[in-house]
Amino acid sequence: MRYQIFSSNHWKCNALFWWCIAVLILALSAMVADAIAADTERSSEGQGEGVMRGAYLARVGNCMGCHTTKGGQPFAGGRRLSTSFGIFVTPNITPDMETGIGLWSEEDFWQALHQGRSRDGRLLYPAFPYTEYTKVTRQDADAIFAYLQSLSPVSQVNSPHDIFFPYNSKSLLAIWRALYFKEGAYEPDQSKSETWNRGAYLVQGLGHCNACHTTRNILGASQDEALAGGQIMGMNWYAPSLSSHLEAGSGGWEIEEIVALLTTGITKRAVASGPMATVVRQSLQYLSQEDTYAMAVYLKSLSENVSSNMPGGVSFSVMSGSLRKHMDLGGKLYEEYCQTCHGSDGKGVPGIYPALAGNRGVTMDSPMNVILSVLNGGYPPTTAGNPRPYGMPPFQQVLRNEEVALVVSYIRNAWGNRSSLVSAVDVDRSKGGNY
């Protein structure tokens, strides 16, 4: 081609000449730009890296998840978190001078994360998980702050919380803190590997997994640090225990499968659903391989040494006649609505339609998640590892509560599964309140 150009008409040669000149100019200007860029980089070297690291850490902590309302500007707040104490409205954390945290210093931010105090000294409600964030290092907190300050400011005024009496009392909050909040740092366990400690730091601190995977007392305080599972506040979803073999403990899993669930939202036997799917989409899929690996190592260890707590036998609180009826009617519904995807053997299709046989999400004590999955359906999160997921239809559109109860009871007891039956009342209860 080139020879042709050189040997062809005069105008083509001419064009080539100008083309070369243009390339030369472009190259020169690119060099100049590079030089300028290098200069600015040098002058703010630490800062630029800090911002990048901060952006990554903000993903790990999923700050955006709460500090963004549906369809709203990222980090500008306004999301309403319903709890049994009232509605908390997340604040604007963009660097807007008037409505955001533009006037904050590194120190102010550290105080909020580490001590749960706002810039003006006001005590923060623990809906902001400083009970976990207190373990975040100063260095990481500064990086997140640098990142937030690098965002474009969004002018969006914070709406007031709507908290019920008596929880709106500041003195009550002070008492709560005295009882349940311990300012602290992550203390590495010297008997464990560096990887394990990194995982523990992420899970217990910035990842604030314990904000959901815990049982809370009547004052909303986490009852333990063992990620033992619990009802998520303000939601019908149950966050399964990460330390029990009966729920989502991963002691028996390969590390790779735990990593796959965290990063892609789906594995050959499990799917992240409900709020966990959102966590995978907004946060976990962006984590580095090292960090997800570390989290997996730590999570696996939570149930590795727990002695097998499989149930000794089946104990039904209902009569066999009732069970037979449930199995019969539920089985018919399963055949009509579920079998095409999940199979007559309940084995599903690995990585596409989850198996129901032996699925702990189906058989665990709380039937809430499986009821919600049948009612609402849903898609696993779209992630780099699973960009075009297959979905589950929302069966509340075609099945009555009684039918949902029957089919859920059936899948909880077919193919060797053993779990309690659910009633139409359970189904109805899971429809109330916030999703």
Binding site: G71, H342, D345, G348, R388, P389, Q397, A414
Partner: protein, 239 residues
């Protein structure tokens, strides 16, 4: 107790054997991926006890994409749709929109709703001429001269049931379809309509047979493009 457990096992074995153990084969297609949609949005308009599911096959891609995003991001509020779409990327929603926009399914026959001649005249005037005094443009000016929509983002008005059209019009009037869009042309227009006018239009549209395809974008008058810019942007905003 032992007898009971054995009975359960026996029963389950029977159930499993009766159902057979054919492995599930999953086709790698969009049709398979959108099963969650087609349980409600089937080939025909479908009304159930709780909701009305409009036909989505053959609607313009841009319109479908923008509605999918509106549902996901809470601008158009319907909780079951929001939950279903919550964790889906724009790329995938676009692919789903494309799939349904290219789906060609036969339309159901038109409804047969009795209308008085006056009512028919009223509907036809609004649909083809509008009412300039009240700043109501003709439906056909935006939805195409054949009322089959304009690419890429304006939906057709035919092949829909009266129940759905009425519900949508009243949704626009009360501002409950698209939240927080202050200057929205459809809500402005719908608010100008009287009950009689809205009813007549809904009945008339539902009575028409479906014919033709959606029109290209260039058939839209520039003034209407300006007026309805919020509704006809192909991709909506990027929030």
């Amino acid at each position: 107790m032992m007898r009971f457990i054995l009975l359960v096992f026996f029963y389950i074995t029977v159930v499993v054997n009766a159902h057979g153990r054919a492995p599930v084969v999953v086709p790698d297609t969009m049709a398979e991926r959108v099963r969650a949609c087609t349980i409600c949005h089937s080939a025909e308009n479908k009304a159930t006890r709780d909701a009305y599911y409009p036909r989505i096959a053959g609607k313009p891609q841009g319109y479908l994409f923008s509605q999918l995003r509106n549902f996901r991001d809470g601008r158009r509020y319907y909780q079951p749709m929001m939950i279903l779409l919550e964790n889906m990327s724009d790329e995938y929603l676009l692919e789903i929109a494309r799939y349904f926009s290219e789906l060609r399914l036969p339309y159901p026959p038109p409804e047969r709703i009795h209308m008085q001649p006056d009512e028919i005249r009223l509907a036809e005037r609004l649909i083809y001429s509008g009412n300039p005094e009240q700043d109501i443009p003709a439906c056909s000016a935006c939805h195409g001269d054949n009322l089959m929509g304009i690419e890429p983002a304006i939906p057709g008005l035919l092949g829909l049931s009266r129940a759905y059209i009425s519900a949508q019009l009243s949704g626009w009037r009360t501002g409950s379809i698209i939240r927080s869009q202050t200057s929205d042309c459809m809500s402005e227009i719908a608010k100008q309509l009287t009950d009689d006018e809205a009813n007549a239009v809904a009945k008339w549209l539902a009575n028409q047979p479906v014919a033709g395809e959606s029109r290209p974008f260039k058939s839209l008058l520039p003034e209407l493009v300006r007026r309805c810019s919020q509704n006809i942007q192909e991709n909506g905003d990027s929030k």
